[in-house]
Each structure stands twice: as C-alpha cells, then as structure tokens.
Amino acid sequence: MERESRHGPLILLMGGMEVCWLYTALLLAAAKTGGGAFSPALILSLYPVSWGYERLLRRRPWPWLARAGASVAGWLLGTLTLAQWLFWPAPDLLYVSWPAAFASSLIDLVSFPNPEQLFLVSGALIWWLGRRLAALRPHYATVITEFQFGLAMLLILFFMASQWRLNLPGLVLVCLAFFAFSFGGIALAHGAEGKGWLYSAHRSQWLSILLFAVCLVFAFGLLTSAIIKPELLKILLSIPKLLWHFVTELMRLIFAFLASLLPKSDPVLMPPPGGPPAVPSDPPAWVELLRLPPWVRRVGQIVVSGLWLILLLAALWSVSSQIVHWLRLKLEHDEGASYEPLSGAFKEDLSALLRLILDRLSRLLRFFRRDRPDPVSREAESARHIYRQLLQLGASAGCPRHAAQTPGEYLLVLNERFPAGRPEFSRITEHYVAARYSPFPPTRGALERMVKTWDRLKSRKVQKGKKPAKDRELAENGR
C-alpha cells in the first residue's frame, strides 16, 4: 500500500519529464511550420487525457483487443475534437465540412509538413506516450532511463533549433523544470525501493542537501539566463573573430613585404576580351521527362530526413549505451562500489515497437504475396494450439513450463506431478513435437486422435478420494 501511494508522485514526475521535452518538440514544430493554429499547450492536453483514459480502461475486465479498440476510438475522438477546436473554430455547430478539409490537408504531401499533419502525428505520439505512462510500473531504472532519454531528446531539439536559427521562448524554464522533475523522480524512486539515503537515519540532512541542490540549480540557471544575453554572447564570440582578423592581416602584410623584395616581372599581355557571354540555350524537351514531380521530391526529402533522424538517434543511443557500459565495467572493477542495473523501460519500449513494426511489415508482405496457409498447415497450427492449451492447463495447475524446457523435459515434469494424465500428456506432446519440428504436418487422423486425447483430458471425471489432489486440481482447471 505504501509503495502504491508513492507511485502517484513518481508518475507525476515522470510525466513532467516527458512533458518538458514534448513541449520543446512541439514548440520547434510550431516554429518550423509557421505556427498558425498549431498550439503546443493545447495539443499537450491530450497527454493527461490519454493517461487518465488508459487508467480507466485498465480497470475494466475487457480483453486486450477491446481495450486497444477503445483506446484507438478515444484517440480519434480526442484528436478530432481538438482539431475542430484548433483549426475550424466555427461558431455554427452545424458546420460539417471541416472533416473533409482536415482530410485533404492531411493527404497534401506537397505542403508537408503542414500544421494539420504535424498535429495528427504529434497527437498520436502524445496519446501513445500517455498510454505508455499509464502502463509503466515506475521504479528506479525506469526513471533513470526516462531522464537519459529526455536529456538526449532535449539536446537534439536544442541542436536542431540552433541549426535552424529559431528563437524558442521559455527554454531555460523548460530545462530547469526538466532537471527538477528528474532529480526529484530519481530521489523518490531510489528512496521508494528502500535502499536510498532518503530513508536512512540521516534523512532530514540529506533531504535538506537535495532541496538545497535543486534550489541552487534553479538559481544558477536563472542567473545564467539573466546574465548571458545574446549581446554578451556576440561580444564574447567577436573576440576570437577579431583575433583571427588581426592574425590574417598581419600575415598579409608580411607576405606583401616579402613580395615587394622580389624583382618585378614584365607585364603580360592579356588576350583581347571576347564577345558577350553565351546565353545558355533551353534544355531539350527530354530533360523534362527526367525531372521528378514536386510531390515525389517532397516524399524523397521526407524519407531522407527520416533516415537521417533515425541515424542520429541510433548514434546517440549507441554512444550513451557505450558510456553506461564503460561506467558499469569501471564500477565492477572498483572494490566496494555498488551499481544498479539500468534495464530501461525505453529500451524495452523501443524493442517492442520495432518488433511490432517488423511483425506488421511481415504480415503486410505475406498479404501481398498471397501466402495463404494450406489446409495441412492449418492442421499443424491446430496441433500447436492444443499444445498451447495444455501449457495453459499445466500453468494454471501450478506447473508452468520454464522457457528453457523442451517439450520432452516438460512432459517428464507433468508426468511426475500428475501421474494419472501420463498417457494423454505423452500423446499430445508426441503429436505436437512431430507437428512443430518436422517438415510434415500431422495427418488428419493424427490430429483427430490428438483432439480426442485433449477432450479426454479436459473432461476427465474427478472421483473424490480416488485420485491424487494434484490430478483433481488439474482436471478441475481443465474443465
């Protein structure tokens, strides 16, 4: 209960960390697309809505698919409502042509990225992040990875802003808020796991130092932002520039002096100037055929930009992983030092997302290749399904299969724990193994025998006092 009570503030702090870099990203997007009705603060409102909605959905005893459908429906509703409010704030509620206008803006690739497209993409991302936050189980490693990822995102965004020469408002405050959320979250998570100094005997002293450090960071940040103005930066940057000019001028004078010491050569007669420069003729008509249409070039630009962004993220991720790995190795060699594994939530999310994308792509490819499973493969799938049911039955009876157990090893365990089901377990495992690992799917007869065996196992009558308790338990679960 105590742990649950600490999850609330931790979730808030993690949400705050995400909101900081999301807000910066949205500001950047708004500045890049020319702003207009694209309002970062309003779009960010989807984040808590999504989080709350997902929390509500998770309390419902619905199947996974229904929950996912409800979530998508919620996202659509929220996005459309917000879009209508942002882009077409018509006073007349009967104004119904805005969805068509919205759709046409979305599919307009030539003007990519327009505010509507950015709104859709960022809204989907924010909705997904809100859902993810609701699903997260906050602990120390999660907070640390959130901090690492947020920091990397902020650095990338600041770099992009500086490259595009954009003057985004309120970045100092965003930075300070991010660090305050991060430090607070890290301290709280560390303490919540019962091994932090926040819960030791000198709690008050450490807490004071923490608060003092946070205040110091705030004060130092505000002071820095107050003192270091663009004018001051310009002056500081102009010093090396002046120095460089001085050195180059000095070098020029030295070379001019050295050149004056050499004897002068005879003047060279220049050839008479020719006529006016030739006007380039119009390109032949076939060149037009090779010219790509604007939308193709635009799509190409988007793809290339996306690839560069992915490469940049991958490089950053790789570098940070190597640094963490190096630190870990270093800590391992320091006697008496303790370190904690940082198996991050973001890493899991990323790998899960990549797996999902690959899975969807392979399904799409299979659909286009028209690979339809033949009836024999379906029989193999049926055999697998029955074995999966057997695994579920075993697990529900308190005898789950270990991931590193082969079907044969699991069969031995089942036989030992539930001796009365030995013939059925053996037959089902035998058929499954043949279906799973051999190139030939099971025959219809074999499959029918397997189904009958499974039905027999499920419908075994329990006679009280005659069967061992484990068998009774298994049979009851089977029913």
Binding site: Y387, R401, Q405, T406, P407, G408, Y437, S438, P439
Partner: protein, 323 residues
C-alpha cells in the same frame, strides 16, 4: 511427397538399425556406456573427431579400439610420447639408395580410424601436425599434399588429472574435435559384469566388424537428410551466442561449433530413427560439442565454475522454441 517420406523412412530405419548393431557390438566389450558409444557413432556419421577424456583405467583406449574394430576399415594407433615427431605421425620422404629416388613412407595417420592415445603427452609441434589432417583431411609432406582415406576419424584420449610431462591442447586443436566424451566410473553392477566378461579372455580380440567403409559413407549421406527446423537452427545459434556473452567465459565457441552441433544433432536424431531434429537432441549434445571449446576465466575457475557447469547453465536459460 509420400514416396519421399517412405524413402527417407527406409533410410532412417537403416541408420537406426546400424547404430543399434554398432552399440551392441561395442557393448560386448564396454559395459553400460551406451551414451559414449552413441557419441562415437554420431562422430563417425559426421566424420568428426572425438576426444575421450577421463581418469586412467576406465576404458578410454578400449572404447576407441572396440569402435575401430567394429568398422571394417584400416585402423592405426599412435601412442603419444614427448619424443614423438611430426614425421612419425604424417610420414616421411626418405632416399631409397636402391633406385636412387626419394620415396614417401606414410605415417600412421593415413588410415580410416586413427587412435591417438594420450594426445596431450605429445609436444605442441607434433600436436600441430594433426591440425591439417583433422580439418582438411589431408597431410602435406615436402610440398606434396596427400588426401587421407575416407571415412577418416581420429579418436584421441587424454587424462585430465595428470599434468606432469603433458602439453595442454591448443584451442585451435580442441575446436577441431567434434565431440568430447567422458566415460566415468562404472556402477558396481557394471564393474562386476566387466570382471566377469574379462575373466577368461579379452572380448576385444573376438570382436567382429559390422560396418564397412562404403556403407559408412552412404550413412553419412543419409543423416544429412534429417530435417532441421528454422526455429531449432535459431536455438543452436542462440546457445552458441550465449557462450560468447557469458561473463564467466573468456573465449566462446566458434561457428564451427555451431555447425558441429547441428550436424551432431542431425546424426543423433537419425540414429534414433527420427527424420527431424528436436531441441532435446541439441540439449543432449551441446555439453559434448561445446564444453571443450570454451575457455573459462581464471577468476571463474577459482570460484569453482567448470566448462560443463557453465554449458548446463546456458542450456537452462536459453529459451527453447515452443509455441
């Protein structure tokens, strides 16, 4: 498809019965050691080499000799000693004064089955003379390469306890052994049976061959037809990769180890009369195929970690493809 299945079934049945005959034939001499006998037959099928490692007096050499006798092939024995030279193994060019020409006198390695007894007593340069034979099945003497007869199999024995006057096998050589087998002490009942069997005569002398070279070559083609599912292949790769990532292992297993594990699993499935490989085959063979190819870190060894223990631990953690 049915015809193919039937043909494969007949071939597999032939493979299974031959393995059974081999097992019972060697079993006339070696009591109660079916698993090592099967391992030797697996290696014969894969045309790999076997390293038998155990304490003295448990029947290492006897097992090798019995296996060799069961095959109607040429058999040679090399007793390794510190003064054994590479030319004593591969052969030598000598000047024949009668016809005034150089002639090649083949060494004992030019045989189908070669027993290299106490291999770690040979000096490293003599051990290295076996590298080419084991991998490329040829020997090179004075710029002339001579192909070894097929099938070719090297059975080496070594004693892990005694270290004085021995030279540990280098990694490159260990990697060339497909399998490492251990015999272990027999149970009291088995030991009693051994005493009874050897009371009047040595049964090895009466052992008949049951497979000839041409039949063995055919069986070598048959076992390659045993099917390996993609998921089982992935499982082999994962097990192999896990040896490279284990913190207690200094040097993991090579790709040759993965190839060996796949081939040995195919052969094991074949001698059990099964046309496809199961993860159980891989798990059963992995300790024999992988344990001698890894190098355990010194600090892990000081903590009592052994090659076999680490491989067992890896097998207990790598997920088996089941769905």
């Amino acid at each position: 498809m049915n015809e193919t299945t039937a043909a494969a079934g007949a071939d597999l049945e032939r493979l299974r019965t031959t393995a059974e005959r081999f097992r019972s034939n060697v079993g006339k001499v070696i009591v109660g050691k079916e698993a090592p006998i099967d391992l030797i037959f697996v290696a014969l099928l894969c045309e790999g080499h076997v390293l038998i490692e155990d304490v003295p007096g448990v029947g290492k050499t006897l097992l090798a000799k019995a296996a060799a006798r069961s095959l109607n092939c040429t058999f040679r024995r090399i007793q390794c000693t510190p003064d054994l030279l590479p030319s004593d193994v591969v052969g030598v060019q000598f000047f024949n004064q009668k016809n005034s020409e150089f002639e090649f006198r083949p060494g004992p390695i030019l045989a189908n089955i070669v027993l290299v007894d106490e291999i770690n007593r040979a000096m490293p340069r003599t051990q290295s003379a076996l590298l080419e034979c084991m991998q490329e099945q040829q020997v090179t003497v004075d710029l002339t390469s001579i192909t070894l007869p097929r099938p070719f199999m090297l059975i080496a024995t070594q004693n892990p306890i005694e270290l004085e006057g021995t030279f540990p096998l280098p990694e490159a050589q260990l990697d060339r052994f497909l399998l490492k087998a251990k015999l272990g002490y027999p149970s009291p009942g088995e030991e009693s049976a051994v005493l009874s069997r050897f009371q009047h005569a040595n049964p090895l002398e009466e052992l008949q061959s049951i497979v000839d070279a041409s039949e063995l070559l055919e069986l070598q083609k048959i076992f390659r037809q045993v099917f390996v599912d993609g998921s089982v292949r992935d499982y082999i790769v994962k097990v192999n990769a896990a040896t490279r990532e284990n913190p207690d292992i200094k040097l993991g297993t090579s790709t040759r180890a993965a190839l060996g594990l796949q081939a040995a699993s195919q052969a094991m499935a074949g001698i059990r009369g099964r046309g496809y490989v199961l993860p159980d085959d891989v798990k059963a063979l992995a300790p024999h195929v992988l344990s001698h190819r890894i190098i355990v870190k010194t600090e892990a060894r000081l903590r009592g970690r052994t090659e076999d223990g680490i491989i067992e631990e890896i097998l207990a953690t790598v997920p088996v493809p089941v769905d």
